[in-house]
Symmetry: C2
């Protein structure tokens, strides 16, 4: 079958099933999440077998070790996934909440929170996302079409089979979860053009995926996860704090989107700060790429060029640029950033306020690491991704981001 038809058939089947979850009560949805947790626990051995097969195939195909680590499941990780499901049960259900008002003509208007309908998730070979994403969609009354990275296909099949069995056990149509089992690249484009079948597509992945999405999407999308983040060390900075935060923002987990990629340093602080930072960076073997003024201070740094300002390394590499003013720092950030997370280290309230007002990003930090941009760290209890767009949701997305609204209007024959 043509991949476009395959995707359309799959999405259609999920769409037909969607009312089964959209109309489910909070209690029933939580029962489904509990059943899924119990089921995954029960099916642990089968899931790990499938995962072992995926891992063996991936290793044979030369998949890099960081990717293998994300692909790997073990009993502890499955328990972690189950704990997250039980945690999700305790969160408030946004569906049905809203406001109600009466107009002078007697019309009674309610604006209530309703599910999106069918959510498409496109993501990499990370089996935990398969369960996380499905669970967040179910909690918000949405059906979901899952398209994970091809390296995880056996694991995803096992996970989805387990979840579907649990849905049946609580009386929800198992077709509210659809897994794209054909993982050719064209399936992504087919999802992105499935107008009328998918209400929103949420891509989670690197720059390449986001580019594909921007160029091909005909359905509404929420872009997530592109993070060319900056740390600006102002002339007024506490330099000890600046070293500590910079090292954390770069090196605590370089592969994630909230890690810093470029550091901007005020010229008045550079002579003192850069050598101290470079000493600390050595411990993490961070490769430094600097502008000419940086290289003059740090002879070991490699020369940076335009591409370095544009690049999300996701690695132990940091670009560094010495700048003359706060405005230059803001201009650099607004030119090269991806709207994710930006930070300043300063002791000046006035400088901090100008930075926060003028930097255009989802999260703007003063004297803290960009690594905190995360639904859990923000206190949301759950996260479907980090939006880098301004429409609909911006920053870490909790349950609300998976919902829309509907106006219910009641009258007794009013006409206009």
């Amino acid at each position: 079958m043509d991949i476009n038809n395959y995707i359309r058939d799959l999405c259609s089947a999920v769409r037909v099933a969607a009312p089964s979850i959209a109309s489910a009560s909070t209690a029933k949805k939580n029962a489904a999440l509990s059943a899924i947790a119990d089921g995954l626990h029960h099916d642990c051995a089968a899931i790990l077998d499938a995962n072992a097969a995926d891992l063996a195939a991936a290793a044979e195909n030369g998949v890099p070790s960081t990717m293998l680590d994300r692909l790997r499941l073990d009993e502890k990780r499955i328990n972690g996934i189950c704990d997250a499901l039980r945690e999700l049960c305790t969160l408030a259900d946004p569906i049905g909440s809203g406001e109600r008002w009466v107009r002078p003509n007697g019309l009674c208007i309610s604006c209530i929170c309703v599910p999106m309908g069918v959510v498409g998730m496109i993501y990499e070979a990370r089996p935990n996302v398969t369960v996380d994403a499905a669970a967040l969609c179910l909690k918000t009354g949405n059906a979901v079409v899952l398209r994970g990275g091809k390296e995880a296909i056996a694991t995803n099949r096992a996970l989805v089979a387990s979840m579907k069995a649990s849905l049946v056990s609580v009386g929800i149509n198992p077709d509210v979860i659809g897994l794209v089992e054909r993982t050719e690249r064209e399936g992504v484009s087919a999802m992105l053009t499935a107008r009328g079948l998918l209400d929103v597509v949420i891509p989670r992945g690197g720059a390449g995926l986001i580019r594909t999405v921007v160029e091909n999407a005909r359905v509404p999308v929420i872009e997530t996860g592109a993070g060319n983040c900056h740390l600006y060390v102002d002339e007024s900075a506490d330099l000890e704090m600046a070293v500590k935060v910079a090292i954390n923002a770069k090196a605590s987990r370089p592969s994630v989107c909230n890690a810093v990629e470029t550091m901007l340093v005020h010229t008045a602080a550079a002579e003192q700060f850069l050598p101290a930072f470079a000493r600390a960076a050595k411990e993490y073997a961070i490769e430094l790429r600097g502008c000419p003024r940086t290289c003059a201070i740090l002879p070991d740094a490699l020369p940076a060029d335009e591409r370095d300002w544009e690049t999300e390394y996701n690695d132990y590499i940091l670009a560094i640029r010495v700048i003359d003013t706060l405005d230059d720092a803001i201009a650099h950030i607004n030119r090269y950033n991806t709207g994710h997370s930006e930070a300043i280290i300063t002791t000046s309230r006035a400088v901090a306020a100008r930075f926060q007002a003028n930097v255009d990003a989802a999260a703007v930090y003063v004297n803290a690491s960009t690594r905190f941009t995360d639904g859990g760290e923000f206190g949301f209890g759950a996260e479907i991704g980090i939006s880098t767009q301004k429409l609909h949701a911006r920053g870490p997305m909790g349950l609300r981001a998976l919902t829309t609204q509907k106006y219910l209007v009641e009258g007794d024959g009013q006409v206009r």
Copy 2:
């Protein structure tokens, strides 16, 4: 100059000016709106001259009379526009509002409402939209690029020149309003692909424009105004009310998006209801196009086909289909509707509840006309358009729809 470069240069100039309005206080923004109202009043003669030139050219080019009416300004209409501007001053400014919380690690997080940045508006030859849209954008701290229908270009030039002069008078950079003066069709596509320059594009227009937008947009868009709306007359309906509401929903203003295009009638009500409705419809010369069962009851009705169910007539034409069950009505609506406004006439609370829960649209009415879907009628005080999408905004869009959010995080050196 190539039209793409022209649009990019214009958007860039507006973008550079944007901080001038983004950083303006509520008082300053309201002063700007008042100054614009005063200015339009003062420049009334010049604006009407320009409008007369547009009208003469349009009449010569055979523009239809309904369109000429929308293009026409007179002193009364300009006064109406000025009144709306003064009304807008009284509305609460959403910018800067938000929430603030402290995390266990001491991080202080605020989530505040901020402007989108630069809004692109694409609309038809309706000069009032030029002022309305600009004013709503300014009130919410946004710069705006206006692209109105080519028939209104002289009027739009006069309006924008007047508004710019008023902005200067209150110390705001006049480039926060940009008018696309080159009205070739390709300019629309150029706006839709101006990534990084326009933060959102709001198209207001017919099915053709919406199609162009869906196929070409590379910037975030909010689709508005496509309204294939339905009225369902249930077997339990008060038939007198049904006739009154149906006539209002179709004939009070057929050219607008919240008018009804197809009426569905329960088979048990059809024999009694349809002849009564047809008698009333005759007064408005409404052309009726029916399914075979409708035509059997109403011999004067023309036969309807698949295209009729899909069409937004925007005219004195109504498609009618007799259906067997509530579920059939819901299925028809969910298949053909554009997510705008749908209504049921029923005396049964249970039927009403099922209809409201299962029909997928921005506004779902019980015993009232779809014509109420409007920011003013809903009590929002202002409206930039009616969103038919689920992302970001759905239904009548007030000031909030022109804003996004930003997380401001303050720490004292926290790392993760």
